[in-house]
């Protein structure tokens, strides 16, 4: 028995290949687990052992016990196929030495790459043109080399130069020790006795009651789901009878503004009668008001429109107006192909045929876009002649009638 066993006797069982990392660094172990007085662990590595005088150097924490058993501790830098060849020990050592030198150079190369990257980063930062296209990518690459170089070097170092060993650590038994179980049970029992719940029924019952009532809170969010219906909110937009069609900037659209083949997104400007009897038009400004009222105004060529029965006079001089909100998922439908008169939805490729009442002809949308009846007021501005759309705009919803 060596001194190692004596030192670790206090914490680990004798014979176990343990000890703190400091001990192990000084006392390399053989595959058998026994401490080896002479270091033959690392092939050609530096001598790790510095002496047996490790008694007084023990740190405050006792050496940690491990269940490690070491299976393999030799480093083989020689390739398997090379080993198959009959190599004399001297020759093998020579190959080993050269491989190590190669590995050293590789590691050093990556460290130099890191230096180059750092210098490149700093130089680019101060000298480079911050508005040039190369600047940001170059900084990124330089920083990646600066940090990655060290990383790659360190990993290659660990992989190729440091000794390899395979350690197996056994799982500790899952069940606690009997004494610990007994102690825990006793603590719990004592604590319960201290609360006096068994002796004080008033406290016990009110606590149970409070817990039950608190638990009933869980029902509240479920109830919330049942009493919030949209009502008629989704059936209407902000179009009213006589509202002018204005662009997103608030400019009213008058007849002749849009050329044949033109398209404009319009919103309602609601007529407000002032005290002196004049009427002014109030554009809807908030996003919420604009959102459900977005409408596309398209000017078709003469006699191109094929109005639906009952909608013969909804168009005005070739102008037609349809809701801009896709009936599938509510995206803005405004990709207008003037030759085919198709309106496309950019989200899911629904296609609407403008000439045929914006019927959905392709894609996931199944309902036509709602149409707005157009008129022109005495000043030549387009108005919503009959008021709101006759059906809800946008995607379907549960309460949609």
């Amino acid at each position: 028995m060596s001194k190692q066993d004596d030192d670790s006797a206090g914490s680990g069982s004798p014979g176990d290949a343990g000890g703190s990392i400091f001990d192990r660094a000084k006392q390399p172990v053989k595959p058998s687990g026994e401490p080896a007085p002479g270091s033959d662990v690392s092939a050609g590595g530096p001598e790790l052992r510095q002496g047996h005088d490790d008694g007084p150097e023990r740190l405050g924490t006792p050496p940690h016990q491990t269940d490690s058993t070491r299976a393999q501790s030799t480093v083989l830098l020689v390739e398997p196929h090379e080993r198959a060849v009959d190599v004399s020990p001297a020759h093998a050592a020579e190959i080993d030495r050269r491989a190590q030198r190669r590995a050293e150079r590789l590691v050093a190369f990556w460290f130099v790459v890191s230096i180059v990257g750092t210098v490149g980063f700093v130089v680019t930062n101060f000298v480079g043109d911050k508005h040039a296209e190369y600047y940001t990518p170059f900084m990124g690459v330089a920083l990646a080399l600066a940090m990655g170089g060290i990383g790659f070097g360190v990993i290659l170092w660990a992989k190729q130069l440091m000794p390899h060993e395979e350690a197996v650590q056994e799982r500790h038994p899952f069940r606690s020790a009997d004494e610990e179980i007994a102690a825990t049970e006793e603590t719990v029992a004592l604590g319960y006795a201290d609360t006096g719940l068994a002796r004080r029924p008033l406290v016990r019952r009110t606590l149970l009651g409070a817990g039950t009532v608190l638990g009933a809170l869980l029902v509240v969010p479920l109830l919330n789901l049942t009493n919030r219906k949209p009502g008629k909110q989704l059936d209407h937009t902000h179009w009213v009878k006589g509202a002018r069609l204005v662009t997103g900037e608030g400019t009213p659209v008058k007849i002749g503004d849009i050329a044949i083949g033109g398209i404009e997104t319009v919103f309602p400007a609601v007529p407000v009668t002032e005290a002196d009897g004049t009427v002014r038009y109030e554009p809807q400004l908030t996003m919420h008001e604009k959102a459900d009222s977005a409408t596309v105004l398209i000017r078709l060529g003469p006699d191109e429109n094929r109005p639906r029965p009952g909608r013969e006079n909804w168009a005005y001089d070739g102008h037609v107006a349809y809701s801009k909100i896709c009936t599938h998922a509510g995206c803005p439908v405004s990709l207008y192909e003037t030759q085919t008169h198709h309106l496309l939805c950019p989200c899911h490729q629904s296609v609407f045929d403008v000439l045929d009442g914006c019927r959905a002809i392709f894609g996931p949308a199944s309902r036509s876009l709602p149409q707005l009846a157009l008129g022109v007021d005495e000043d030549g501005y387009f108005i919503a002649r009959d008021g709101d759309y006759t059906e809800p705009v946008g995607p379907a919803f549960w309460e949609r009638s």
Binding site: E133, G261, G262
Partner: protein
């Protein structure tokens, strides 16, 4: 005497303020129309007809205006390489002089949108931010937020605006080529049109500070690259770190 003085003064004034070079300009214009007609008969009439009246394969060109001619020919879309879903932009085969002559000939058949002339002052005064608003309201749905273009139906597409000159951008707005809607002066006035063109040039020429812009197609290709190359690369490095050294 007074009458004589008045007559002399009128004569002098006429001599001083008479429009000069009118006859010469008219002669030039006529010459341009004549040259344009020759070019038209050689290069365009097989499809558009000998009188530009159109035919089975091509629309009538009467009344399309010089802006349409300049747009179609200067972007190389016309003459068409082959019939297809859409004419593609390619290098123009006519010189600008020839294009102007063709435009003069077509313009002589009936008026239409004229080729716009953008002065340097107009260009400098154009409101870039306002142009951006107008672009996002009217153009971005098809041409994509920064003018990279996007597909339409049946092989048609809204083209990439990266190579379009300001003149071509305004011509396209005024004439509505192929599937594109037409944006007349009633919708976008001259200043608006120049502002939109300026914005398109601005976003097309803006340097990409983050390196390659991946076609400016936004988060989808960027995310794809981040997931496949970025995270895939990290996984590969992790595997390499964790790999056993061969013994």
């Amino acid at each position: 005497m007074v009458l004589l003085v008045a007559l002399a003064a009128t004569g002098l004034l006429w001599a001083g303020f008479a429009p000069r070079g009118t006859a010469q300009d008219t002669a030039d214009a006529n010459e341009a129309v004549r040259q344009g007609r020759v070019l038209y008969l050689q290069g365009c009439s097989s499809c558009h007809g000998l009188q530009a009246q159109g035919g089975n394969q091509a629309p009538s060109l009467i009344g399309v205006g010089s802006a349409a001619v300049d747009f179609q020919v200067s972007t190389g879309r016309m003459p068409l390489a082959a019939p297809g879903a859409q004419a593609e932009r390619k290098d123009p085969i006519y010189s600008q002089t020839q294009i102007d002559q063709l435009a003069a000939y077509i313009d002589s058949l009936g008026g239409g949108p004229k080729k716009p002339v953008i002065t340097q002052t107009e260009w400098d005064d154009a409101d870039l931010a306002h142009g951006g608003e107008l672009y996002r309201a009217n153009c971005a749905q098809c041409h994509q937020a920064v003018g990279a273009g996007a597909p339409l139906t049946y092989g048609k597409y809204a083209p990439d605006l990266g190579k379009a000159t300001p003149t071509q951008i305004i011509e396209a707005m005024r004439t509505g080529p192929e599937s594109m809607p037409l944006f007349g002066p009633g919708q976008l006035d001259e200043a608006d049109a120049v502002a939109v063109a300026k914005y398109v040039r601005h976003v097309s020429e803006a340097p990409s500070a983050g390196g390659d812009d991946l076609g400016k197609y936004g988060p989808v290709p960027e995310g794809l690259l981040a997931w496949l190359v970025g995270i895939g690369g990290l996984l590969a490095v992790c595997l390499w770190i964790g790999a056993r050294q061969k013994v």
